[in-house]
Every structure is written in C-alpha cells, then in structure tokens.
Amino acid sequence: MFAPGTRVLVVDDMTTMRKVVMRSCKELGLAPMFEAADGNQAWNVLNEKSGEIDLIISDWNMPNCTGLEFLKRVRADARFKALPFVLLTAESEASQVKEALLAGVDNYVIKPFSTAVLGQKLGQVHKKLSA
C-alpha cells in the first residue's frame, strides 16, 4: 500500500464524490490534499503543484475534459509520465476500460465502491510500481 501521507489529487465533477473519495483516502492513511472538478482544472493543479502530488484518483465521465483525456495529457508529459493514476468509472463505461489501460492508467475502480475496494486497487498499483 502507498505510504501514509501519500499526497493525492482527487478529480470529480460531483462535490459529493470528491468528498467520498477524500474520506476513503483519509481512512486509508493517505493525504488527499488537492481537488479538481474536471480534467482541465486538474491539469492546472498538477502544473501548479508539480512535485507535491504523488497519486491521482480521477473520475472518467466529466464535462469539459474527461478523465481519459486528462490521463492522456498526463502521460504525454515527461514530468508526470510515471505518476500513479487511478480512474473511477461507472459500470456502463467499464467495457471501455481497455482504452484507458492502453493510455497508461494504472488501475480502475468501478462505482459503487467501498473504501476496502479502493484500498485493494491502490495496493495493486503500489505493488506493480514497486516491482
């Protein structure tokens, strides 16, 4: 699992879901320090706080700039190429997850999810990246 205090950027257009994810992160010992309501905002946060973000958890379906578009932008930039990135998806988008895997997402979580499932998925990411 990621070390306690790992700094997380949480991206979701729904305030409630951002709070839910941030709460789960805290329960898992992480530090959800930054939030954004879409991929464009998240990109700005990432650039402003470059070096202060260790992990991104982003929703897929958002207006303006989707989670997938944001992921592609992140992976295209050498500074963020290796930054752990987890996507949250609705079940109806799960079939398209291969596109996200090809774009370099480290894992995905299907909504609805429990804190335990989020922790499990983050654990898989950490294990993969530490191997």
Partner: protein
Amino acid sequence: MSSAAKKKTFSSEVEMEEQPDLILIRLPKEISKEFHLSLESNFKTWVELSKKLYVIDFNFNYDVSRNVLSALSRLIKELSSKDKKVASINVTTELERYLKEIALISSFFPVKDLNIARKAAGLSLVKPKSRVDAEFLKPFIEATQNTLETQVGVKLQAGKPFAKGKGEKLNIDIAGVVNLSCPEFKGAIALCFASATFLNIYEKMVGEKHTSITEEVKDAAGEILNIIFGQAKTTLKNKGYGLSSVIPTVLTGSKLNVGFRTSSSAIILPFKTDLGEFHIEIAVDLD
C-alpha cells in the same frame, strides 16, 4: 439475459446466446492465438439455427487478429447466403476504422446496440411489455440495493412496486431525475427522498452532518442516481435496451411533486433502510 434466452458456452472462449429473435455470438475479453479454430468449429451448428439475425459482440476487444476476422468473415458469407442478417456490436473505433480499410465494414455492419441491429433486420424492437415489466424494473431495484449497500454502507429492503395514483403526492424534498432516451420508448426515472432520509444518507456516505438540503449536498441525489443508472443500463443493454448516457438533474423543494411528461402514470419502487424510506419513480411511454 432474458429469461427466454438460452446461453451456451462452446469453449472457454466463445459464448453463444440464443435470444427469442436473434443469435448473439460474444467474443471473449482475451482472445487466444487459436481462437479462430474454436470459432470455426461452431460455424456449422450456428448456421443451422433458425434465426434471421446474428449479432457478433466484439466486447470492445482490441486484439482481434486477422485470423479471427477472416473466420468471422467466412461465417458472415455463409449466413448471408442463407438470407440471414448480420450486425456487430461493441466494436472499438480502431477496429471499425480497420474494417473500413479492408472493405469489410458493410459485412460486419457495426451498430451501437441490439435494437439498431433488430431495426435494420426488420425485427421488432425490445421495450417494456407493460409499465410493470419485471424484466425492466428488476435491474433498477438490484442496482439501487448494490449502490446503497456498497457506496453508503446501509442495508435496504425493497418493497413491492406499485402504480402511483393520479395526483398522488408523496413525501419528497429532493429528487435526482434522468430522462430515459432510446429509439423504442421514452421515459424518466427519479430517485426521491424526504429531507430527513436524504440528510441521513448523505451523512453516512460522506461523513458530514447537515441539517438542511443546501447547494453543497444536493448533488449527492444526482450522483447516487447516476451510479444506479450506470449499473441498470449495463444489465438492460444485454437485454437489448439501448439506453443513452445522461446527466441527472436534481430537483429540490418542500413537498416536491415529481411529474413526468408521459401518457401513463409512474411506477413506484419503494425502499426501506435504517436511515429512512425512499423511493424510485419510473415512467415509460409505450405509445
């Protein structure tokens, strides 16, 4: 899967489902090198089936080899020679582009969902048989249970669905609403809460106590409905319903009356939890 549908797995790789009006051939998520051989070994059996429409479900697979496409192309030729119609669903944009390049796009005929394939083949479209079609309502009940239990952490009990009486007003202070839009019917779904239940659910889900419904908390009604709708949509897609993705709207107000612009009255799906009662209203226009 429809109760009338028969599902058969011919090998660990390919799945064939016989629906009342069509044959659905589903490719696996991971395609092995020898997949085309197992595919071909089933051709004879499939061609003999007395259905007019055959649909190949590509399962959004990215790794469809030339061998597999050639095998499927031979199957399509054989089916066409017997005057059967073929369509493909869940085709990735990349594969669609490739099929265009190799001039096989019209043979594979990629479409968005089963109902478009049905329409093109001259078959009747799938829609709820009545306002209380259990096959249509069940995915919403199951998705509501799963969402509330997993995301909120509350057990709930589904009550018996009933028709909303004309002019009947229920105790609603907040509702997430989505319009159902697909070629075969129109309708709407609302997830409705009284203020106390909604705030209890919000507190359990987010960990924040609020005493009234404010701008800050109200999007939860839309998000919960969004998650429910996403799951139900996937189940209904496999039954042939082509529901589109929609963004929910949230209505608030004291003693709200949720009304739908449909010719028939809504069906109420009631739920009980330790945090209070709530319900879903579903209205479909079958005309």
